[in-house]
Symmetry: C2
Subunit: 283 residues, 2 copies
């Protein structure tokens, strides 16, 4: 595994590889890698010749009161894990290289970013689309792989790629869960044992909602209420949103259709967790 630390060196490497006809797959991460990230890497590796993984804790996608400073980091462990799944190039740019003096450009997706997490995290997605554009331009991949756990992020990036004619195939990978159902996240590390117990209510409520749908319930309001009430029954939880929306437009629904996104954001103690499930089936 080669480690590249500057944007310029990454671009030179990418050009050399592309000239040789290699296809490149890319998994951008903020590090503190867990099994969810590793699954993205395995999927990317299956689709391409060269796997590039980036680690960059991007300051611009954190709000002023969010956890940028204390976001968990473990470069040594990350390198071992990335190499273990066959990463060819680990791209670890520095903040000065990514955001030089006078930096003032951004990429914005307008409508999709105003919904769900965009309501309580108003600058988050602008930071994500801007840094992902920069990383794409540095790595020049043929394809990039993102987790469906960050469903809105995947939707926003897919829209950006289409709108801006980025010639990159975006692949979404199903959420990887702990054996007890908790969606894997670097932020799970923040949870106390009791909080972690309560956090299981997120996935449990998604399963409950799917069961309601399968039994014929089509009222979005009834499902949202049942989910919210279920989660509230667990200590330390504070709901940010329970959304039942169209998976493409993220518009809230009244009546469920064939394909519906149930998406949650819940604070458990001081830790904000998200989870989601696409609930689908005909009537």
């Amino acid at each position: 595994m080669e480690v590249i630390e500057s944007v310029h060196a990454m671009q030179e490497k990418a050009e050399a590889l592309r000239l040789k006809g290699y296809t490149m797959g890319f998994v951008p991460t903020m590090g503190f890698l867990h099994e969810g990230h590793l699954e993205l890497m395995r999927v990317a590796k299956r689709h391409c010749d060269i796997l590039v993984v980036s680690i960059f804790v991007n300051p611009t996608q954190f709000g002023p009161d969010e956890d940028f400073e204390k976001y968990p980091r473990d470069m040594e462990g990350d390198m071992e894990k990335a190499e273990g799944v066959g990463t060819d190039i680990l791209f670890v740019p520095g903040a000065d290289d990514m955001y030089p003096q006078g930096f003032q450009s951004g990429v914005k997706v307008s409508d999709l970013t105003k919904k769900l997490c965009g309501i309580s995290r108003p600058v988050h997605f602008d930071g994500v689309t801007t840094v992902v554009t920069k990383l794409f331009n540095a790595v020049k991949p043929d394809m990039a792989v993102f987790g469906q756990k960050d469903f809105q992020q995947l939707t926003v990036i897919s829209r950006m790629v289409k709108d801006l004619n980025m010639d990159i195939r975006i692949i979404g990978v199903p959420t990887v869960r702990e054996s007890d159902g908790l969606a894997m996240s670097s932020r799970n590390k923040y949870l106390t044992r009791e909080e972690r117990e309560s956090a299981l209510s997120l996935n449990a409520s998604l399963e409950m909602a799917e069961a309601m749908f399968k039994k014929g319930e089509r009222s979005a309001e009834k499902i949202r209420e049942a989910v919210a009430s279920f989660i509230k029954g667990h200590p330390f939880t504070e709901i940010d949103y329970v959304s039942l929306c169209d998976p493409d437009t993220l518009e809230e629904m009244d009546l469920l259709g064939e394909k519906n996104l149930l998406a949650l954001a819940v604070k458990v103690g001081a830790t904000r967790l998200i989870d989601n499930r696409v609930i689908s089936g005909s009537a």
Copy 2:
């Protein structure tokens, strides 16, 4: 000369050419080509193996009261001219291909776009940076060539390319003028004979300002006033701005330094014209 009409076909062509090791130079235009455009193409052609020219009258860089509808078009003449200077690929995407249903993404450069033309044309540069990003992603050039006549555009695009890690070399080309000094522009076509006479005051005022500088004048205010007063002495003119600013930051200056941008926007009759000159030299 090959004519390509879809983004997808352009990307496939670009990939095939890059795999063969060809370097690609790009000149994006809105068509109605004049000697200024042709000069950009000649410069690009000297720097690369394959010259790609695009023609796309981009609706999003025109304000609601601007001249999108009546912007002059001449596809047949343009094709002949582009081919005449050695264009290899003419890229003519359709508006539906560039702005599909649900389009909602944009690229924005913040500070530089608020100055000079950005004051009276508040949406213009967002349209430019977004469409140029899209064209870059379609054409995948090694270098792109822009005219210094649109000095702020060149500055904004250079900033965007640097900020977003676009691996494209940006080359600026000096303004091409008519024999009487009028900067070439597709919009010159709108001028009546009398207006055209008055329009010569733009370039004449730039020369006057440079002469003042060479004689030792360093007060930006005095030069701005002299320029404005000179232009106002010509019929049909209405000044939008006379700016004396730093060519990199576009910040207005009080005292001139070694390198200074004098930039003008003036309505002559109903036609808005711009011109500029970098005035430089030590004291």
